[in-house]
Every structure is written in structure tokens, then in C-alpha cells.
């Protein structure tokens, strides 16, 4: 049922008229959520995503996609993180101050992967947002009607409608 619900939400996101900006921001922020391995940072990002009216389905879809991609990107993230933490000497005082600041060290920002993923995620906010918005607009203009005619989509709609009615009767 959970899988069906998620699928339905994804289909609704694509097929409905939800603001492309909300979906784009959701996707961009979700990408960071997926990339960062640290739980504390994930929690903070989750609160941020929840705080702003961005599309949650897009955010969690992006988080899932980027979490899978992140494993493959580990060497790259390590290099970015090392560069930011160790090679950028002008930032060292900032990192030292943060390192001595309460709570902040719990984010493990001094780990190369955490820092690398955070930096990459922030860098990718705008490209991710623009890309997501453009793709959605293109989809809705050119593909939405065709997709809605697909048998699989119709079946899914029927199944979800039936289960919704059944659960309401119960």
C-alpha cells in the first residue's frame, strides 16, 4: 500500500497542476538531503524542507535518487570536502571556530564526505532547481496527456481509487 501511495503521489505530482517552482525547490533541497550522510544535518534539512512550502514528494524523490548516487560520488565528495576543509586556508579559522562551537561538531562537518556533499548539494541547488522546473514544464506541455492514456496509469488510478473508497467504508 505504501508503495502504491508513493507511486500515486509521484503520478499526481507530474500530472497535476502543482506549481513547478514548488516542485523545483523541493527537488533542489531534497538533493542535498540525499547527498549528506550525517543524521543531524539531515534533520536540519528536513526541518527546512518542512518549513518552506516546497513539494515534499519532489524533495523525497530527489533525496532517494541522490542518496543512491552519493555512494558512487564518494571519491569526488571526499576531494571536494578535503579541498574546502584543508586546502582553503582562509576558511580554517571559520572551521576552527565552528569546531569549538557547541552542537555544531555533532554535524561532523569536519568529515570530508559530509562537507563535500553539503558543498556539492548547495552548488547544485540552482542547477537542480532550473533543471527540475524545465523538465516538468516540458513534460506537462508535451507528455502529460500521452502518459495519462497509458494502461498502467489507468490501472493504478483505478486501484488507488478503490483502495481509498474501501478504507473510507471501513
Amino acid at each position: 500500500m505504501l508503495v502504491l501511495k508513493i507511486l500515486k503521489k509521484i503520478i499526481v505530482m507530474f500530472q497535476s497542476d502543482i506549481s513547478p517552482n514548488q516542485i523545483a525547490w523541493g527537488f533542489a533541497l531534497g538533493a542535498i538531503l540525499g547527498l549528506v550522510p550525517n543524521l543531524l544535518v539531515k534533520c536540519i534539512l528536513f526541518v527546512v524542507i518542512m518549513f518552506f512550502r516546497v513539494n515534499l514528494t519532489a524533495a523525497f524523490l530527489a533525496a532517494t535518487l541522490y542518496a543512491i548516487v552519493a555512494f558512487a560520488l564518494d571519491p569526488l565528495l571526499d576531494k571536494i570536502g578535503y579541498f574546502v576543509l584543508a586546502d582553503c586556508s582562509f576558511l580554517k579559522s571559520l572551521w576552527t571556530a565552528l569546531f569549538n562551537y557547541p552542537i555544531v561538531p555533532f554535524s561532523h562537518f569536519n568529515n570530508t564526505i559530509v562537507m563535500g556533499s553539503l558543498v556539492l548539494g548547495i552548488i547544485l541547488i540552482i542547477p537542480n532547481g532550473i533543471l527540475a522546473k524545465k523538465l516538468l514544464v516540458y513534460y506537462r506541455t508535451n507528455l502529460r496527456d500521452k502518459v495519462s492514456q497509458w494502461k498502467i496509469v489507468k490501472i493504478l488510478n483505478t486501484v488507488l481509487a478503490t483502495t481509498t473508497i474501501a478504507s473510507k467504508i471501513k
Binding site: F52, D78, L85, A86, N111
Partner: protein, 601 residues
């Protein structure tokens, strides 16, 4: 504000606000419980806090009425503090580090009375015991204590005092006189017999001289000489023969006179019966006195018996707290290298390290049970001593000219070789603090004043401590309140108004704990017993003399009277006979003289 998801923000804010309000309202209660629980696990007895107030704006905690029960005496508080206040640094607190720059502790007292027992509930007690047993010193001390206590209990304390009691109880002059089988009476009887025999012999001897007969015979001889007329040589020869005969009689008379004189001398000089009887009585007194000799008692262990367990308990307390300090202020250990993380690398920046707990300065003020005010500082209480430059120090002092107290301690755990020392000097305070149990064998120690010099040191695993305790001004027991035999013990203990005790305890690695206690109370009790017995012996001697004189005086008087009568009679006889003999001798001399003249003419 279209871009904000109010449906998430509003409930979140409400929940956070509720948590904050809950904390503000109930945080003090929760923290108080946490303090009590931690304290109980540290001290192994009930901990009570009257009130606890926190201030988030000042990050301060104020505790009123902290009472921590004594594990060794549940109806007393180990410490009783009126007020504690300290500020906690905020940023280290977020890293679970308690950094306190200055703490105020006022109204510190100890050994205050409790109305309720300070014993922990069985569940907590078990938990504490389990925790306590894990300590190295606890294990070592438990074994040493068991051995020492059993050793102290085996000392012949009861025997020694039993001996004293028996001697005191059985001290009965009449019994001693009975047991002594008096010789004086027998000797007097013997002397009487001897004297009577002697007198009879003298009497017989005097009678045997038959002086009157001898006088008549000599008179006859003298008459014969005086009647003799010298007219020729034949008469001269006859007269000379009579004179010779008279001279022989004279010699005989002289011998008798000499004998009588010697008897007279013997009777008048030697026979002093009272003197003889006195000598016999004195012999008896000496004989009984020998049985009243002062007992030799094994008293050298009395101090160990009296103070042994106290000393063991005190050492145990000090060691327990020293171990506690070690536990919460561990020595420096080799740093463990952190493992490489599974993903990525940790870049380490210079981090300002904080120990889990650091109290830089505690201003302490309080009063002893004798109301002696003291004040001082405790510096550098730290959970990781190697992280700070100075060791933990304690300096407490109080002096009101009559009483003084000084405590100085150094607990250095900054390196592998830890060094803990504690010196306590107390003078003029009530000896009640010693908690010496009162009994009939001891002076009223509680009423005395004490002067204590004690040093405790723990260098690595070598424990060494010694204490010199001088007790003075010990008050005397009121003998009127004491009945029976205990009065004698009270007399002994009352003679002791001061004494000193020296106690030591040593422990080296792989050796048994060695406890030693010496005190001059052993000698003092011994001397007191001797003194008491000496006075009793003197009194007994007088009593024995009186008793003996009473027994034999009448008999002696009668005998003496009889002897005197006999003596007088004998002497009278001797005198009259001597007079007679002297007269005869005179007559003989005259007769011889006349006869000689006659012969010449």
C-alpha cells in the same frame, strides 16, 4: 508568507514551547532527583536536598539544605550544607562538560544528628555495594579489615579486666586472715610454754641451792672459827684448816651468787613476752601482705582493644573517599587513537578541551560540632586532572584562640604517579568527634578535649597514615552514680585525666595492611590499678594488724600478767637469796680476817 508551511510551523512551535515550559516548570525537580540519585550512588547513603533552583538566564544552580547521611552511622549526616551556589558555563555544557569557575559552599557541618535513618532502600543498596566492590582498595581493605578486626577481637581484653574485677571482688581481709593460718597465736602459745619451763627450771635451780641451810652451815663454821683459841701450833693448823674450809664455802657462795645474778639478768632482760608476741604478729602481717601483692596484668593491648576498631573504621572511611577521588579524578592514561571513519576523513581542528567536570574554586565556610567557625578554599576539582595545570588542593582553617582546626590536602592525579596527601590538625575540640564507645573500662573520653595531628598519604598504591591524638581535661565519673564492683573500675578510670594515642596504618603493594596502635593509657591504667592496690594493701595491713592484735592481745595480756607475777616472784626470791648470800659472804670475809689476825698474834 506564502512560501512558509504554517501547517508544520505552528504545531512545531507549540510542541517546542510546551517542552520549554515543561522544562522550566519541572527542570528543578528533575535535576534535584538526578543530584540525589548521583549522590546516593557516590556516598552509599541517603542524600536529601531541601530545595534546588536553577536560573537559565544566569546559568546558575542554588541548592539549599543538602544533607548526606553517613554510611557508617545512619543516624548522622556525613555532611550537612546550608547553601551551595554555582554558575555553569553555557557553551561547554552543550558538550556535556560542567565547567564551574567559582562555587560557594556555606554552612558546612558534619556529623550532625538525623531524625530518620539514612540507609538506602535494599534495591539501591545492592546497586551501591556492587559498584563499591569493584574498587581495588575496597577489595584489599575488606580483606585487611576482616583480618585486623578478628585479631583485635582475639586480644585478651576481657581476661585482663576479668582479672582486675576478680581481684577487686575477692579482696576480703577476713578471708585472707583465715587463709593465712596465723602463726602468731601458735608462737605465743609456744613461747608461753617455753617460758614456763624456763621459770620452772630456774625455780628448781634456786630451790636446789637451799641458801638457808647453806647459811646455817657457814654460820656454824664461822662460830667454830671464832670460838677457836690459838695457843699453840696445833691450834694454828686447826684454825687454818677451818679458814680453808670457810674459803671453800665462800667460793661456793660466790658461785651461787653468780648463778643467781645470771638468772636474774636472764629473767629481767630476756623475757619480754609482749615484744615476742609483737614480732610474731608482724611476721603474720608480712606473711598476709605477701599474698596481697599487686597483680601483674597484661594491659598492653588495652589501647588496641579500645581504639582498634575505631582506627580501622576511620582508615576505611579515609581510604573510601581517597578511592572515590581516584575514581572520579582518574590518573592520566595513554590516549586511544581514533579509528578511521568508514566514509571520508575527519579533519581535526584545534579544539579547546574541557574536562567533563571542572570546579576551579570552591569557597567553603562552615562550623564544627563545637561551633568553631572555619573557612577555606578547595581548588581544581576536575574529572580529568591531566587537562589542567594544577592539582586539587584543600585548605580549610578555623581558629578562635581556644580551638583550632586545619585541613590541608593535595590530590595530584595529573600524571601516572598519583599522589594524595591529607593533613588534619585539630586542637581544643570535643573528643566526642572520635566516637569512642563509652564503657566502664574507659575514662569519659567524650568529655575531654582533643588535639589531633593526622597525616594520610596515598602514593600510587601505597597507603600510609598516622595519627597522634592527645586527650586532655577528661572529666571524672560520679562515683555516687555507680554501684557495686564497677566503682573500683571507675576509681581506676577517674585517675586518668589525659592520655595519648598513636595510630598507624600502612599498605605497600603485595603486602598485608598493617595496623598499629599504641597509647600510654595502657601504662596509666596499669599504674592506676597498682596505685589502687597499693593503697588497699596498706589499708589491709593496718586492718590485719588490728585484727591480729584483737585476736592475740587479751591472751598476750593474761600471759604477760602471769609471766610478770612469776618473774616478780622469781626475782624476789633471787634478790632475797642473793642478799642472804651476800651477808654470809660478808660474814665469811670478816671471820677469815679475824682468824688471820689471831693466827699472826
Amino acid at each position: 508568507m506564502k512560501f512558509i508551511r504554517w501547517s508544520f510551523v505552528i504545531p512545531t512551535v507549540i510542541i517546542i514551547a510546551a517542552i520549554i515550559i515543561f522544562n522550566i516548570m519541572f527542570f528543578d525537580v528533575i535535576l534535584k532527583k538526578a543530584f540525589i540519585s548521583t549522590g546516593e550512588m557516590i556516598f552509599g547513603a541517603k542524600v536529601e536536598i531541601s530545595s534546588l533552583k536553577t536560573s537559565f538566564s544566569k546559568m546558575s544552580i542554588a541548592i539549599n539544605g543538602l544533607k548526606c547521611a553517613n554510611r557508617n552511622d545512619y543516624f548522622k549526616n556525613l555532611i550537612d550544607i546550608d547553601y551551595i551556589k554555582f554558575d555553569v558555563r553555557f557553551s561547554p555544557l552543550l558538550r556535556k562538560k560542567f565547567i564551574i569557575d567559582e562555587m560557594t559552599v556555606s554552612g558546612l557541618k558534619w556529623q550532625t544528628e538525623r531524625k530518620t535513618s539514612g540507609q538506602l532502600p535494599p534495591k539501591k543498596e545492592k546497586k551501591f555495594e556492587k559498584k563499591k566492590k569493584d574498587g581495588m582498595f575496597s577489595k584489599m581493605f575488606a580483606a585487611a579489615k576482616a583480618k585486623t578486626v578478628s585479631e583485635f577481637n582475639q586480644l585478651p581484653s576481657v581476661t585482663a579486666y576479668k582479672e582486675i574485677e576478680d581481684l577487686i571482688n575477692n579482696f576480703d581481709v577476713n578471708k585472707l586472715i583465715d587463709k593465712a593460718q596465723l602463726q602468731s597465736v601458735k608462737e605465743i602459745e609456744q613461747k608461753t610454754k617455753e617460758l614456763q619451763t624456763k621459770y620452772e627450771t630456774y625455780q628448781k635451780k634456786i630451790e636446789s641451792y637451799d641458801v638457808n641451810k647453806k647459811a646455817e652451815e657457814i654460820k656454824a663454821q664461822i662460830d667454830e672459827i671464832s670460838k677457836t683459841k690459838v695457843s699453840g701450833l696445833a691450834d694454828v693448823a686447826k684454825a687454818a684448816k677451818n679458814v680453808e674450809k670457810l674459803k671453800e664455802s665462800k667460793k661456793e657462795i660466790e658461785t651461787i651468787i653468780n648463778d643467781l645474778n645470771s638468772i636474774k639478768k636472764d629473767v629481767s632482760e630476756n623475757i619480754n613476752f609482749v615484744k615476742e608476741a609483737k614480732n610474731s604478729i608482724n611476721k603474720d602481717i608480712e606473711n598476709i601482705s605477701a599474698k596481697l601483692s599487686i597483680p601483674s596484668l597484661n594491659l598492653k593491648n588495652i589501647s588496641r582493644i579500645l581504639f582498634g576498631n575505631q582506627w580501622v573504621n576511620r582508615v576505611e572511611t579515609v581510604m573510601y573517599y581517597m578511592e572515590l577521588i581516584k575514581q572520579y579524578m582518574p590518573e592520566k592514561k595513554e590516549e586511544v587513537q581514533e579509528k578511521q571513519r568508514a566514509r571520508g576523513r575527519d579533519i581535526l581542528f584545534k579544539l579547546k578541551q574541557y574536562p567533563t567536570l571542572l570546579i576551579s574554586l570552591i569557597n567553603v565556610s562552615g562550623s564544627t560540632n563545637d561551633n568553631l567557625d572555619f573557612a577555606g578554599v578547595i581548588k581544581n576539582i576536575c574529572s580529568s586532572p591531566s587537562m589542567i595545570s594544577n592539582p586539587l588542593t584543600v585548605e580549610l582553617k578555623g581558629d578562635n584562640k581556644i580551638q583550632s582546626v586545619s585541613v590541608s590536602g593535595l590530590f595530584d592525579h595529573r600524571t601516572d604517579n598519583s599522589k594524595d596527601t591529607l593533613a588534619v590538625q585539630v586542637s581544643g575540640l570535643s573528643a566526642k568527634m572520635l566516637n569512642v564507645p563509652q564503657n566502664e573500662y574507659l575514662p569519659l573520653v567524650d568529655t575531654g578535649k582533643m588535639k589531633v595531628n593526622a597525616d594520610f598519604s596515598l602514593l600510587n598504591n601505597s597507603f600510609d597514615c598516622n595519627a597522634n591524638i592527645n586527650l586532655t581535661d577528661i572529666q571524672k565519673k560520679n562515683l555516687n552514680d555507680i554501684d557495686g564492683n564497677l566503682k573500683y573500675l571507675a576509681e581506676i578510670t577517674n585517675s586518668i585525666t589525659n592520655f595519648s594515642v598513636t595510630a598507624t596504618a600502612k599498605y605497600q603493594s603485595d603486602e598485608n595492611m598493617d595496623f598499629n596502635i599504641t597509647s600510654d593509657i595502657d601504662t596509666k591504667i596499669s599504674n592506676a590499678i597498682s596505685k589502687m592496690f597499693s593503697s588497699k594493701v596498706t589499708a589491709a595491713k593496718e586492718k590485719i594488724s588490728k585484727e591480729l592484735n584483737k585476736i592475740v592481745s587479751e591472751q598476750t595480756k593474761n600471759i604477760q600478767d602471769e609471766i610478770n607475777k612469776q618473774k616478780e616472784g622469781l626475782l624476789g626470791q633471787i634478790t632475797s637469796q642473793t642478799n642472804v648470800l651476800n651477808n654470809i659472804e660478808k660474814s665469811i670475809n670478816e671471820a677469815i680476817s679475824k682468824s688471820t689476825k689471831k693466827s699472826l698474834f
